[in-house]
Each structure stands twice: as structure tokens, then as C-alpha cells.
Symmetry: C2
Subunit: 703 residues, 2 copies
């Protein structure tokens, strides 16, 4: 029997060595090579139009304790497969997405151990995805990953757009540098005081990692369909320009608990010689599982305002109801506490927001600080901080629920967990039932501070499972989820479309505590947004915060750039984050926020260069309406807007919200003009943008 | 103002130095001295009838990072208080418990920091309890305990009954030695292969720690009312004979997360010159909070049999339904798996147990292995192992629920968590609702293996909170809880009487894998049982396991000793753990198990010496029935049973289950006789016990 097996084994191995070395993308531009070296270590390399993208790069794992699972392999079988189909996202940048790839599947068996592993390579026209599968087998059942040893051996000292590797936060500013410069810049780049920080000790950066080669290739490395596995960082060897996988450890230093019959997430490499293709890529969504729900009719885009920005700008509003320091959830009777008089989430104030939302066509009002416990929200030691079912005495849940319903507005639930997910999971059932009972259909979750269970990290396997669990449980209640401070997304919004937005990067709130760079929003679509929609909370019209009190922060953006972000930063969840009073001061500009769509039939990346500028046009879903957003970094520029995406033979009214000649993000951010022109699909517009300025255009067919 | 405050401050300090140094127990036998040394470190000492029990011992904490909270204190006020009342436990060894103590409360303020701490000393006639309170204060709100520095400075090289300090298990065998011998014996004592082990690196033992001094004092150190705090171990200095507190760390090495407005558990020192007083002490219960529930009518004692022992004895029965290795809860369809044919918890077999229980007057049948997931129960890496709401295909929940109800028997639910409490808490709501729906009113929980959340320990603050949380949630559903492998109890069964038994020590199951020493059950009541009832699962009649197959283990007990344990090991939950077929072989002896009560009006500790022998009589609650149990270690002895506890002037029928003359635990464990005599309250019985033998007596008034 054994002898027979060996013959069979070599027979397949022979076949594969001859046949299984190469794979081409459908259009032939991308070429993947697979190889087993003399040690039996699997490796791959990737080229684009004959240019090296990834040089020969090793694959595999070390499993605990110190067992090589990345060498001594033999190929037992290699198969090929082509897929070409389309699917429709529930919400998205385009109505229909094409999923076209050539696939190579390599079955490996390790000598001696006889452990099996299967490699999947999917080559699309816009890039490569590969993943590892651990089939059910006799000799291997449960194991612990000590490290994944996937390499991304880069072909040169590329320009990179990076944030420091950190297991607990992705809220750093981006640094643009060559790979060889990262080591000398990372200390400065890490100088941020964030609520939870666990910087990686060796030289490492986060994904999505955006790069540009000297000869003009754009390369983006990330992952897709992160599920029951820790998030991946990239170790950087700044001498060889090799990036390699670095998984997030758990509380005891282990990197992943695997049961055979499972697979890793996809490692993704999106590549093109046109930066616009990176933004247009749907590779990551394509590598995610289809929608997990049969009925998705309850999943809707949401445009909202909220009791939120006032907490950040030095106006004195507080999340907490009292100044008591001895509150204990379940014991303290909050009705007996002395109110501090500054509690933002009070019934009267929330009604004002509901009125404003109703008057201006918003779907919803977010209310933070509605629930018991905020007196201790910065005490990062306590396991049970909040109740998710008991409101403060001055927030009348029933009355507000009715008032909102009468006004055709939803209230967005807020579940700040302060990262005590242990306690949040205990209350989750009751919390969602409370939402059902009070007519809430969306929740903003928050994960500020270090994780409890203690020692776990935001990006570890346990937390990855937590976020997904919350999305799945929410779906049972037809609740949509917008998670803040969670692991950066990997396209799971395809599978769980109710998990419709995340923060998971440095958002607008940082404009009030530290600031964002002018090029920040020209980088985010090439990095953070590769994985999914971001609740960036744009729309700040009053960027100089000194008007409110003692704060001196200034927004690094003109007002029109704030408008443009509603188009350039795709999300089906968009906030108008500023105070209503500021929108009333700039009613004409506010009109764009009121008008702009959230869900799209199609998107057109007109211009793009990471770190410099982005211009995008989108067609509203099911409507003959288009919106254009253009932004630039600290340098003024002239956008070239080609309207050829419009249907031929018709005329259109375009309203252009533009920086005026004096506009500058530093001293004249509110200098804008609004003009109306008539265009058609042959129009080409030279549109000047101010320093860190923008342009926003709404377009309707001329009647 | 500041000046005024200082005057006020010293005024009180002066008063306290004169008055607050000493406290006597109500009967005057115990004397406590409190002192602040020149460094401002609080200390206490304790004597019993002029004999030193605890020499001057320091108190306090080190809080993170390295901040002394055990020196530089000033006394601001000292108050005294006396309490003398009675209360009735829901279930217990006696109907009424007297709570009589003198209390001293010492308010301390630390210089410079101005942090406040209050010490509570309660001196009963049978011992001392002290605890630390952290009052709400301006300068201290949340802090992390690095270590508690409570000392128990012992007066000599006492004989001790100890198990090695281990954060994750208390299932070691006891060692009896002098304190000075612990260090040379602890390596041998730790040689056990247990499912989860985290031995303490320095010399440390577990509480309850039982000791006997050379001059005949019995001292027991433990804790009471362990809540939101880690369990305490005792560091041992074997030169100075100082024990000191060693708290269980969490996953990141912290020892306790404290919010002011809280207090520690009580540190307890039970002391007497009569060993019987130790067993009779209700000090630990007295130091717990009163019952937390208004309605306790649903809390009942339970005598049960179960599908359990057959899994341990080499009969081939398995918890698992299949031999598949790729099961995933929520995905695998178990009805499509091939059954392994050895699954114990099948409908037919459980019905046999229900029949047996009904025929013999048992309240309930425990069924382990009823639910999906046992194929992976030893895979200590997986977070989601079990479903607690889905039964295996061959276990018909509805049918068995009906069949049990028709026969007047309950089925006891089993929730083995394999210590993935993260997943258990997720399912807990549904699991209890499933129990409601199917007529279950008691659950045996299990915590085998290392804890998930990973890095946490069975005895840490997080898990302490978990066990209590489960008991509290269960109470909402009128469910009683019997937790196995949980932290050892500290009297919380007073507060949560539905948490009516625990294992938390080396139970009968170890007779099948490693064995228990003949003196084991003469030590347990002085150690483990000080904190609360134990589900020891006695009643093994067939002690020689070789009859079943290949196992060679033999029970270290005669059959009559097994009977006696139902009296000597107090618990309102008692199992008849052996196979029904063995009870049918010894029907006459089985009668005692059928007859014995579980809840008591009164208990009489007739004879006791830790490690040697125990004889206890108890009066059944609300009945004119008494039961006596007497056990001995490996040495035969003659018990002197004084029946003066019986009411005067009446005659009683006594049935005596005794070792016969040939009986010996090693080779004649099943040699017993049963005789009937008539006794009255003047009867004194000289009752011989075999080596590791026992005697059990049931007594009824003669009609």
C-alpha cells in the first residue's frame, strides 16, 4: 500500500512540475509564477506587463512550538479554474461588479509530517489574491500559528504611504517616504497619543499599504475576507525591500488558532500603471464571500447628523450626565445624582437635532452619551462601564423614539464599549432587543482604549471574531452597524452588508485633537478605503475651532473640499458632522450635502494620484443624477474634469461648489462660490482647486 | 482651612492611638491588637486564650506602578461596633446561624497622597475576619493592585494540610507536613497531570489552609465573600513561618482592578483548641452578604444519579457522538455524521437512568455528553467548542423532558465550557432559555482546561466575576448551579443559594485517574469545605475498576466509608455516582443513600481530627430523623459516638452500616454488615472502623 501511494504521489508531482508553474490574468497583463525551491518551500512571484511587481517570495507558516510548516513540501496536485461572472452589491459604488479571474490551486503535502496545505491563487486583471487552506486530514486537527511567513518581496525602493504597525490602532497620520526611509521616520510617525497603542517592536507598517514604483507602477497590498484569523501587518526589511506577514498576537503571544477544514484570509496585491485602477478595483470585494443574508431589503444608506461634534470642540458639552465618580452600573440610581448641567444627550437638545434632520431631509440623528456610565468612560480599567439598555434620566427613550418617528427620522444607537467587549457581549442580546423595542435600526459601536479581555488586541483573532459576531447578531435584528476603532475592513461588507461602514482610520474627529494633514484624504482612498466604506464624518464648515472657546485647532481643508469628500470618500453612511448653526450660516453650500447621493449605479475615477489629488464622478443609484468630487493636497491645482461619463446627446445642469480665488485652507477656508453651468458629455472643465481645496458638482438632466 | 483640618486630623489620631488598639471576641477568648508602626504601616496580631495565633503582621497593598499603599498612614478615626443576631440559610447544616462579633473599624489616610483606606476587623468567638475598604475620595478613583501585602505571621512551625499554589487548579492531593518541610515536598506534591495548570513560581500554597500548632491550636486561613477580586494564595516563608497574600494575576500580570467605593473580600482566620469547632464554624458564611433573592422557594436540595461514572471507568462510553474531527458548531449537520456507537447520552440509556431514579426516589438525572461539540472537547485551543442549545441527534430533548416529568424526575443540564467562558457568556442567555423551555432547573457547569479569554486564570478577578455572573443569571431563570473546576468557594452560597454546590477540589472522579489518599476526605472538610458545599460525588460501591476492562484503579475507601461521606461531606447536592447495576448488587447498603437527608436542622461534630477522622451527626430538616457518618484515614480506629444530641426521654431505632471485621480498603472494601439497635440520648457507641473505613447510621424515633 505504501509503495503504491508513493507512485501515485510522484505521478502527480511530476505532472505539476511541468504544468503548474504559471498563471496569467484574463487580459494577460499579470503573470504569476509558482515554484517549490530545493528545500520544498513554496514561493510565488508576480509581474505586470513584464515589470516585476513581487520578486520570488516565500510562503508558509511556523506553527507552535517552532515547527516549520513552510518547507519540505511536495506538490500532490495542481488544478486550474476560470471564473467570470457578475454580482450586485446591496450598497456600493456600482450596481454590478464583474468577478473575472484565473485560478491555480496547488495541493501540497509536507514530507515526514504528512501534513497537507493547499494554496489558492486568483489572478484578476487588477491584481492577485492568494490564500492558504488547511484541509481536514488525519494527522493535523488543531494547531497554533506562531507566525505566517508570507513574503512580498518588492522590486525596488518604492515610494510608500504608510502608518506604523500597531496592534491596537490605525489612527496615525500617514507618512509618505521611500521604503529605505521608513526606519528613520517611524519614530516621528509614531508620536501620537492615542487611547490604545501597542506599537510593533520591529520595523512594521500597516495594510492596506500603498506604493508607487520608480517606473510608475502602483501597488497596493492588503487582505480580503478577514475571518477567524488575526489581522496582518507587514514587517519591512528596508535593505532588501521585502515585506513579510506579521500577524497580531493574542494575550499569550499566539497568533492564530486553527482547526483544519479552514483557510486564511486572502492576501491581496492590487497593481496597475494607472493610479485610477487602484481606486476602481473591486478585487477585495470579489474575494469576499457573497452576502450571507437572504433578505437585505432592510439595509439602506443613511445620511445623518448628530449630537457629536459638540463634544470635541471645547463647547463644554459632555457625554456624562453627572460628575460623580463612584457610579456602578446596576447599582447606582442615576435619577438621584446631581446633573452636571452640560450633558449633551438630553431630550430637548436631541429634539432640536430631530427637527433639524427632518427639515433638511436627513435620515437619522446619532446621539452619543445617552446611556448610563459615561462618568467612567476614560477609566480604562473597568470591565463594566456602561449599560446599553438604561438611558440617563434626562434622555427620554420612549418620547424621543416617538418624536423621531413622527418626524420621519431614525435615531442612531450608540454603543461605546471602551473596548470592554467581554461586557458588551454579555449585554448584546438585551442591547439589540432594546433597540428593537425603541425603533432603532442602526448602531455606531466604539472600541476606544485597550481591550478587555485584557492582553487582547483590536486586531487579534478574538477581536476579529467579535466584530463579525456583532454584525451577525445585529443582522438578526435588522440592525446596521458602523464600527469605530475596529480592525480595518477587508471587504466583509459584501458578506455582511449591514456592517455598512467603519471608522478604523484617522477620521475627522482628529481635526479637533491633533489635526489631519492636507493630503490625508488623498491617501485614505488608496489605503483604508481599499477594504470598505469609512464613516469619515466630513462636512465641517466652521474649521477654526477657536470660535467656540479656548481651542486653537484649524481644519486642514477648505469648505468646498469638505463637500467633495462626500463623493471622493465612498460610504453609504455619511454624516454632516458640523453643528446645525454652521449649516444655517452656509445654507447654499449645505445644499450639496442635502443633495448628494449615498448609493451608486456607477463610479468614474477621473483623476487620481495618491497623496496628491483625486477626482471622482458617480451616478446616483436609480436616478439620472451625478455628483463629482475633486480634492487636492496642500498644493493648489487645476482639475481636468471630463464629463464623458454622462449619457450622450443630452444637456445637464451642473451646480459647481468651488474654492474662490482667495480660498486657502490655512486662512480662507470658507471662501467659496457656487455657479451653475450647462454641460454635456463632451464638456471638459478646467477647475481650479485651492491649497487643500476641492470642488463638488451636482448634475441633473436639463428638463 | 488647611490648618483647621490638620487640628481636626490630629485630634482623632490622638483618640485612636489611646483607644483603638485592642478588640476582644464576645467570649473574650480571642484578642486582636492593631498597630501602626513607625513607618505608618498598619499591622495586627491575634491570640487565643493567651496563645499567639498570628504574630504582628503587616497589612496593605502595592498599587501599580510600584506605589506603596501600605505605609505612611495616619489613623483618622476608629470606631467600634457589636453585632449579635441570627439568620436562616436557605439550605444548610443548621436551620439557624448565630452571627455574633465585635467590630473595630480603623480609618486611615496616607500622608502626601491623602489616599484613604478603611480596615474592618470582625472578631467572632471562632475567629477573625478582616477586610480593606477603599472609600470614595477625591484623589483616588480607579487603580490597579500590583499585590496585596497582608501577612499572616504564624507563631511556629505548624503542621499543615496543603496543596500547591496554582492559579488554575485545586485538584491536587493534600500533603501533610510542617511548614518548614513544604519547600522540599512541593515538587512531589505538584506532580500531577491536570487539564490546566499554572503553578505559582515561588513557594505558595492554597487556601483554605488548615494548620495545627504544637500546643494544640487549630488554625484555618481562608477568605470570605470573594467578589470582583482575584482569589488569594499564600506565599510561604518557611524560615519565619510567615504566610502572605498572593493574588491571582490576570492575562497581563495585574492583580486586581479597583474602583473606590468598594472593598476586598474578608481574610478569615478560624481558630480553636478543639478541631470540632473548626468544622462547626459559620464564620465564613457570617461574613458573606445576606441572600440576594427575595423568593427562594425554588431552591431545593437534589439527590441525583447520572450518565457520568461510566465515562471514567474504561467501559468505552464516550461523551462524543461521532469520531469526526472537522466539526464546526453552527455549520456541521450532526444528523449526517456517522455515530461512533459508544455515545453515552442517548435517549434509550437516559430513560434507563430516569427509570432507576424514579424507582429509587432520586430527584434528578445528570446527563453529560448530550450536546453538540464533544468531538473537540480536548482541543484546548478552540474558542467555540459546544452548542448549549443543540443536542446530539440521538438525544431527544423533548421526549426525555416529557419522560422525566412523567416519572417525577428532573434532568440536570450539563454545560461543560472547556473554559471558553467567552463563548459560554455569548450563549448563556439562549442556554438558560433552552433550559426553561425543556423543564431543566439545575445545571452542572464545567471549566476543564485553560481559560479563554486566553491568559486569564480560573482564580483571577475576571473568572471570579464570571462564576458569580452565571449564578446571578441562572437565578433569573430559577436555575440552580453546581460549578466544577471553578475557584474554590468562599461562602457565596449564602448570598446566591442557587449556587448550591461546587467541585473545586479533587473529587471522586480522581479515583479513576490517579486515586485519592485514604485521608483525603478527612482533610477536605477542614480545607475545601470551609468555603461551601462540595459535589464530591460519593457512593462508589464497585471500587475495583478492573472489573470493567483494562483499568487497574482501586478506590481508597471501604463501601461503608462511601456511605458515611453523605454525612461528613455536607452538600445539599449529592450524587449516587456508581452505576445502577452496582446499587442493585448491594441493595441493603444502597438503602442508606436513598434514606439520607440533604438539608438539616442541626449538625453535631462529634469527633474530628484533620487528616485522621471525622464523626458527624445531623438532624434532617423538619423531620425527626438523624444521620451519623464517621470516617477514618488509612488507620482503623474506634469511633466514640455519643448520642446525647438526641432528644431526651425517647427511644430510637438506629440502622448501623458498618465495616465488618475483615473489611479493609485495599482488599476487602465491600465487607460490611448492617445491624439495627435501639438507642436513646444516653447511648454511647464504640464503633470500630476499618482501615479507610467508615460507619453510617440512620436514626428514627421508635414508634
Amino acid at each position: 500500500m505504501k509503495n503504491n501511494f508513493l507512485i501515485y504521489f510522484y505521478f502527480f508531482a511530476f505532472i505539476s512540475i511541468v504544468d503548474a508553474q504559471e498563471l496569467k490574468s484574463p487580459n494577460g497583463n499579470l503573470n504569476l509564477k509558482f515554484n517549490l525551491n530545493t528545500n520544498g518551500t513554496p514561493s510565488y512571484s508576480l509581474s505586470y506587463k513584464q515589470k516585476e511587481v513581487i520578486k520570488e517570495s516565500k510562503m508558509g507558516f511556523v506553527i507552535k512550538p517552532n515547527i516549520s510548516f513552510n518547507e519540505n513540501f511536495k506538490i500532490t496536485e495542481t488544478t486550474f479554474h476560470t471564473e467570470n461572472n457578475t454580482w450586485e452589491p446591496v450598497l456600493g459604488e456600482q450596481k454590478t461588479i464583474n468577478n473575472h479571474y484565473n485560478e491555480m490551486i496547488v495541493h501540497l503535502t509536507q514530507n515526514k509530517s504528512q501534513w497537507k496545505m493547499t494554496l489558492y491563487f486568483r489572478l484578476f486583471d487588477d491584481g492577485l489574491g492568494f490564500r492558504y487552506e488547511f484541509p481536514v486530514q488525519d494527522n493535523l486537527r488543531h494547531f497554533i500559528i506562531q507566525e505566517e511567513t508570507s513574503e512580498f518581496n518588492l522590486a525596488g525602493d518604492h515610494k510608500t504611504f504608510w502608518i506604523p504597525g500597531d496592534y491596537d490602532t490605525n489612527e496615525y497620520k500617514y507618512t509618505t517616504s521611500k521604503i529605505s526611509e521608513i526606519s528613520k521616520l517611524i519614530k516621528e510617525a509614531s508620536k501620537e497619543s492615542l487611547a490604545a497603542q501597542s506599537p510593533i517592536k520591529n520595523l512594521a507598517v500597516q495594510t492596506p499599504l500603498m506604493m508607487k514604483t520608480e517606473d510608475g507602477l502602483y501597488i497596493n497590498i492588503h487582505e480580503a475576507s478577514l475571518s477567524n484569523y488575526p489581522a496582518m501587518f507587514l514587517n519591512i526589511d528596508d535593505k532588501t525591500f521585502t515585506a513579510s506577514s506579521h500577524l497580531t498576537p493574542d494575550a499569550v503571544g499566539n497568533k492564530g488558532y486553527i482547526q483544519t477544514g479552514s483557510h486564511t484570509p486572502w492576501r491581496t496585491i492590487v497593481v496597475s500603471d494607472d493610479a485610477r485602477d487602484i481606486l476602481a478595483s473591486k478585487l477585495i470585494l470579489n474575494l469576499n464571500e457573497p452576502c450571507a443574508f437572504e433578505d437585505t431589503s432592510w439595509i439602506k444608506p443613511v445620511k445623518y447628523v448628530g449630537v457629536w461634534w459638540e463634544y470635541f470642540i471645547g463647547k463644554g458639552s459632555t457625554w456624562a450626565y453627572s460628575n460623580n465618580q463612584d457610579i456602578v452600573i446596576g447599582k447606582t440610581d442615576f435619577t438621584k445624582l446631581k446633573p452636571n448641567g452640560t450633558h449633551g444627550a438630553n431630550t430637548k437638545h436631541v429634539k432640536e437635532y430631530i427637527d433639524f434632520a427632518a427639515a433638511n431631509g436627513f435620515d437619522a440623528v446619532l446621539v452619543e452619551g445617552w446611556n448610563e456610565g459615561w462618568e467612567d468612560n476614560t477609566a480604562f480599567k473597568k470591565e463594566r462601564i456602561y449599560s446599553f439598555t438604561k438611558s440617563y434620566p434626562d434622555f427620554d427613550v420612549k418620547e424621543l423614539s416617538q418624536y423621531a418617528a413622527q418626524n420621519g427620522v431614525k435615531i442612531i444607537m450608540h454603543h461605546e464599549t471602551t473596548s470592554s467587549t467581554a461586557e458588551y457581549e454579555r449585554q448584546l442580546n438585551d442591547a439589540f432587543r432594546f433597540m428593537d423595542d425603541n425603533n432603532y435600526n442602526a448602531v455606531k459601536t466604539g472600541y476606544v482604549g485597550p481591550i478587555i479581555p485584557r492582553g487582547e488586541h483590536h486586531d487579534g483573532q478574538t477581536m476579529v471574531n467579535h466584530y463579525t459576531y456583532v454584525a451577525q447578531e445585529a443582522a438578526k435584528h435588522h440592525i446596521m452597524v458602523d464600527s469605530h476603532e475596529a480592525v480595518r475592513p477587508t471587504g466583509l461588507s459584501r458578506t455582511y452588508p449591514n456592517w455598512f461602514a467603519q471608522e478604523s482610520a484617522r477620521g475627522t474627529e482628529f481635526e479637533s485633537f491633533g489635526g489631519n494633514n492636507p493630503d490625508h484624504t488623498t491617501i485614505l482612498p488608496f489605503t483604508r478605503l481599499m477594504g470598505g466604506p469609512m464613516d469619515y464624518t466630513p462636512g465641517i464648515f466652521q474649521g477654526d475651532l477657536s470660535v467656540y472657546g479656548t481651542m486653537k485647532n484649524k481644519l486642514s481643508s477648505t469648505l468646498t473640499k469638505q463637500l467633495a469628500l462626500y463623493v471622493t470618500m465612498y460610504s453609504p453612511l455619511q454624516m454632516a458632522a458640523d453643528l446645525p448653526e454652521n449649516y444655517m450660516r452656509f445654507k447654499d453650500a449645505f445644499q450639496f450635502i442635502k443633495d448628494v447621493a449615498l448609493d451608486w449605479d456607477n463610479s468614474y475615477i477621473l483623476e487620481a494620484e495618491p497623496g496628491d489629488y483625486i477626482t471622482i464622478a458617480r451616478k446616483a443609484k436609480g436616478k439620472q443624477e451625478w455628483f463629482v468630487g475633486g480634492i487636492t493636497d496642500e498644493n493648489p491645482r487645476t482639475a481636468m474634469i471630463d464629463f464623458s461619463f454622462l449619457p450622450k446627446g443630452k444637456s445637464y445642469n451642473a451646480i459647481i461648489y468651488e474654492d474662490d480665488k482667495e480660498a486657502h485652507y490655512l486662512n480662507k477656508p470658507q471662501s467659496y462660490t457656487i455657479r451653475k453651468i450647462i454641460i454635456n458629455n463632451k464638456t471638459k472643465l478646467k477647475q481650479p482647486l485651492a491649497a487643500s481645496g476641492g470642488v463638488a458638482i451636482s448634475i441633473k438632466e436639463k428638463k
